[in-house]
């Protein structure tokens, strides 16, 4: 039975191909599934683009104060001519530097980011831009207030805009938490200004969506949010655009390959990956460990690699995307995600999709939806090393795990996520648990 029609004003920050990480991908999967499920969506972005979507209306919300630069990027072979074609700042890099991860996918041919826009912003500047976004969203949203029933804001950059619009229209606000400042700072306090925005956004919200039980717990424990208004909605995963091609034929055919992929930041636990490499190499000297990604810990990590005598056994591929990313996940004999704190961890599902056995941190939301993956504490080098040795020496164990993971994935659809979100909308409209 089709769900009752709903309408939502959704406040976004990024959308493929302009995504710095999981948020854009999640918004894409989620809005597509919601639209399929009979939802009318207005979706805001703090930049202009030629995003070609038919499942929702995109509202480009640009403040007049933002640096108005004619964009020189080439999209579809011609100058895009937008005045601002990417978010004012990248929300997920630790230093608020535009990371190289933002380079778009090759499938969206011909487009390239202006790397000259690397920048650091002070809290004052962050506050200003987030407030200005709220101002524009408030104006645009208020003008469309007959077009939607609920407001849905994604992560802290959009929370002030959501609060503003709620104030202006009186409509219920749902804040959706994909990542918190605690996660990004590796469970230390991080930027207090940002955690304050997160806290206020969730306090003012009628309903809160967390991407995992892990995150819900964190919101209760660290932010003191009432658990009765938090609903867990796991992310889904889209079908592969390029089919899996697992095997050793891609490269390094003569030895086991173990892969880490992610930003080289404290959050992602790459330094534990090096400890793990050392432990495994004592037992399998020919094993090859590949670190894929960029980040502020890069130099520290290569020095640690050399200092511990791991050169040539641990190699750094740099940031990978598209074909290289697929190849690395196809080739990996084991994929490890030793994150200190990971609200979800989409890349672990992507590895599983490519038939690679996965070891994930206990502090990762993705472990909740992939019961067949191996779960370990990020610091438990012995357990992870034992698992790697078992997976590369016992083919049956690897095959069994891989098959189990694929079964787990089959259940993890965006359709399911959309149904749960619909329920959250209903609750918000009924005023359940709201303050």
């Amino acid at each position: 039975m089709a769900n009752q029609s709903k309408s939502v004003f959704m406040i976004g920050w990024e959308y493929p191909p302009h995504n710095s990480g999981g948020l854009g991908v999640a918004c894409e999967g989620l809005t597509q599934a919601l639209a399929q499920d009979n939802t009318k969506i207005n979706f805001t972005l703090p930049y202009e683009s030629d995003i070609d979507v038919s499942h929702m209306d995109i509202q480009y919300c640009i403040h007049k104060n933002w640096k108005q630069v004619q964009c020189h990027c080439l999209k579809n072979g011609h100058n895009c001519n937008h005045i601002i074609c990417e978010p004012p700042f990248s929300a997920y890099s630790t230093e608020f530097i535009f990371p190289e991860e933002q380079l778009p996918e090759e499938e969206n041919t011909g487009y390239s980011f202006d790397l000259g826009k690397l920048r650091k912003l002070s809290n004052t500047q962050l506050e200003k831009q987030v407030t200005e976004y709220a101002e524009v969203v408030g104006t645009v949203g208020a003008a469309k207030q007959n077009d939607f029933e609920v407001i849905h804001a994604h992560d802290w950059m959009s929370f002030p805009a959501g609060q503003q619009l709620k104030k202006q229209t009186g409509k219920p606000l749902i804040t959706h938490v994909h990542s918190t400042e605690f996660d990004r700072s590796g469970l230390s306090s991080g930027n207090q200004y940002i955690s304050a925005i997160e806290y206020n956004g969730m306090k003012q919200a009628d309903q809160v969506i967390a991407v995992s039980r892990y995150t819900k717990h964190l919101l209760e424990q660290k932010y003191g949010i009432d658990p009765s208004k938090i609903t867990v909605v796991h992310n889904g995963i889209s079908d592969l655009r390029h089919s899996a091609d697992p095997g050793r034929h891609h490269f390094a055919p003569n030895r086991p390959v173990v892969v880490f992929m992610g930003r080289l930041t404290i959050q992602k636990g790459a330094n534990y990956f090096l400890d793990l490499a050392r432990a495994v190499l004592e037992r399998i000297p020919e094993a090859l460990f590949i670190v894929a990604g960029h980040g502020d810990m890069y130099h520290e990590l290569i020095f640690k690699t050399a200092r511990e005598g791991l050169s040539a056994s641990v190699v750094f591929s740099g940031f990978v995307r598209d074909e290289q990313k697929r190849k690395l996940l196809d080739r990996a004999d084991v994929f490890v995600m030793p994150s200190i704190s990971e609200p979800f961890g989409l890349v672990a599902l992507e590895a599983a999709q490519r038939h690679t056995p996965v070891i994930v941190s206990k502090n990762a939301g993705v472990s909740e939806v992939m019961p067949h993956a191996i779960v370990a504490d990020f610091w438990d080098i012995n357990k992870m090393a034992d698992s790697i040795v078992e997976l590369v020496t016992n083919k049956d164990a690897a095959v069994t795990q891989t098959k189990g993971q694929l079964k787990d994935l089959a259940k993890q659809t965006w359709k399911l996520s959309a149904q749960k979100i619909h329920q959250v909308y209903k609750n918000a409209l009924l005023g359940k648990n709201s303050r």
Binding site: F303, T305, A306, L310, S311, A312
Partner: protein, 395 residues
């Protein structure tokens, strides 16, 4: 009369090709043998430095039978010269044929093998000797190690191989107040004769010649000769430098070629100076009544401010990759695979480790000037991937 002993080093590394993680195990070539980068650099330097300077030297040698000098040339240089600029080889051959020009021995690959493997070191010196015999029909009798790296232990290796003497740097902390302008004897069984570089007078030409902030800028041949003439009878002034000083480090428009020509011609006219080759100097003075000892317990070199090994063996990136390289020796040899062995040896060229140097200030600038990489970290990253591939070939 004071003796002027000139020595020039000719070397160009085979730079590494861009091998990525995704090439591991797929037999991608490491060195663009025929590729653009090495060719371009070699031909550029040949045009600016090797050919004009060798031509000038040939003129000077032919017109002045009292003019002597020495050079050494690495095997990897000769391979590239044959391929990219054969005229360089031809000029070198003509020079050697005159009998006024001495060729010195060194490692074929410009490697640091003397620090890591005595066996490998000897093999590379032998391989170099064969190449020199083949091209120049002479057998070197005096040795110079990569970057003038020297220690008592290395001196012993050199002596055991039968060389008449060795060149190295004069490092103040080991001179104990002795004048650097005499023949020294190494702390080896048979007291290997040593010629020590006169850093100040060498670097006046090699580094300071076109530096406008230098108090002696612009340096004239007359001024320089005055400095040399302050040295007394039987002193040996060892002017050791990169060949590329002429035309590449000091550009033609600095007047370096003209300076050198006038300096040589005026020195020859002057009764206070004469030119010698290293073997002539050693022969002449090795039986002198008093020769000071040069005791070098820790390796020295001619590089950077510290004259030590820190340009190549300092940070962890350099140390670990070097150790990993030489740990592979036994395994590489056991394979008896010519290509594998050749790749392993070319990877030993000291330049690869020089690029990974993270020292800063003035030395860092010199390193950056020579490096094809954007950073020492990138040099390490690429080298480690190649090393992983080399390992993969032996699994």
């Amino acid at each position: 009369m004071a003796n002027i002993c000139l020595y020039f080093e000719l070397h160009q590394p085979f730079r590494l090709a861009d091998v990525s993680v995704f090439d591991i195990g797929l037999r991608k070539e490491y060195f663009n043998r025929t590729e653009e980068l090495n060719r371009k650099i070699f031909q550029k330097v040949a045009h600016k430095s090797y050919i004009p300077m060798l031509t000038l030297l040939l003129d000077l040698v032919r017109n002045n039978h009292e003019f002597y000098f020495s050079f050494s040339v690495t095997g990897v240089f000769l391979e590239q010269a044959s391929q990219f600029a054969p005229k360089v080889i031809m000029l070198l051959q003509r020079l050697v044929r005159t009998g006024q020009v001495e060729v010195l021995a060194e490692t074929y690959y410009h490697s640091l093998a003397s620090l890591y493997s005595a066996e490998e070191f000897k093999k590379q010196v032998k391989q170099h000797e064969q190449k020199i015999q083949e091209l120049f029909e002479v057998t070197p009798t005096v040795f110079r190690n990569t970057e003038l790296i020297y220690s008592n232990a290395i001196g012993q290796l050199v002596e055991n191989m039968g060389y008449a003497g060795c060149l190295t740097e004069a490092v103040d902390r080991y001179l104990h107040g002795e004048k650097r302008t005499q023949l020294f004897l190494g702390k080896t069984n048979n007291r290997l004769p040593l010629l020590l570089k006169h850093a100040q007078l060498s670097d006046d030409i090699a580094f300071r010649f076109s530096e406008k902030s230098w108090i002696s800028y612009p340096l004239t041949a007359d001024t320089y000769l005055n400095w040399l003439n302050s040295y007394g009878h039987d002193e040996i002034i060892n002017l050791f430098m990169d060949f590329e000083t002429f035309g590449e480090h000091q550009w033609e428009d600095s007047g370096i070629f003209e300076f050198f020509k006038v300096f040589v011609e005026k020195s020859l006219q002057h009764e206070k100076t004469r030119f010698v080759t290293p073997s002539l100097a050693i022969k002449k003075y090795k039986n002198a009544q008093y020769l000071p000892a040069y005791d070098v317990p820790h390796p020295i070199s001619w590089a950077d401010v510290d004259r030590d090994l820190t340009a190549w063996v300092d940070n962890e990136l350099q140390r670990d990759t070097l150790e990993k390289m030489y740990e592979l020796e036994e395994e590489v040899l056991a394979r008896k695979n010519k290509d594998l062995l050749e790749d392993w040896r070319r990877l030993q060229t000291s330049d690869h480790f020089y690029y990974m140097c993270t020292k800063w200030a003035a030395d860092g600038d010199v390193h950056a000037y020579f490096s094809p990489y954007e950073s020492p970290y990138e040099a390490y990253r690429k080298f480690a991937i190649v090393l992983a591939d080399l390992q993969e070939r032996m699994i």
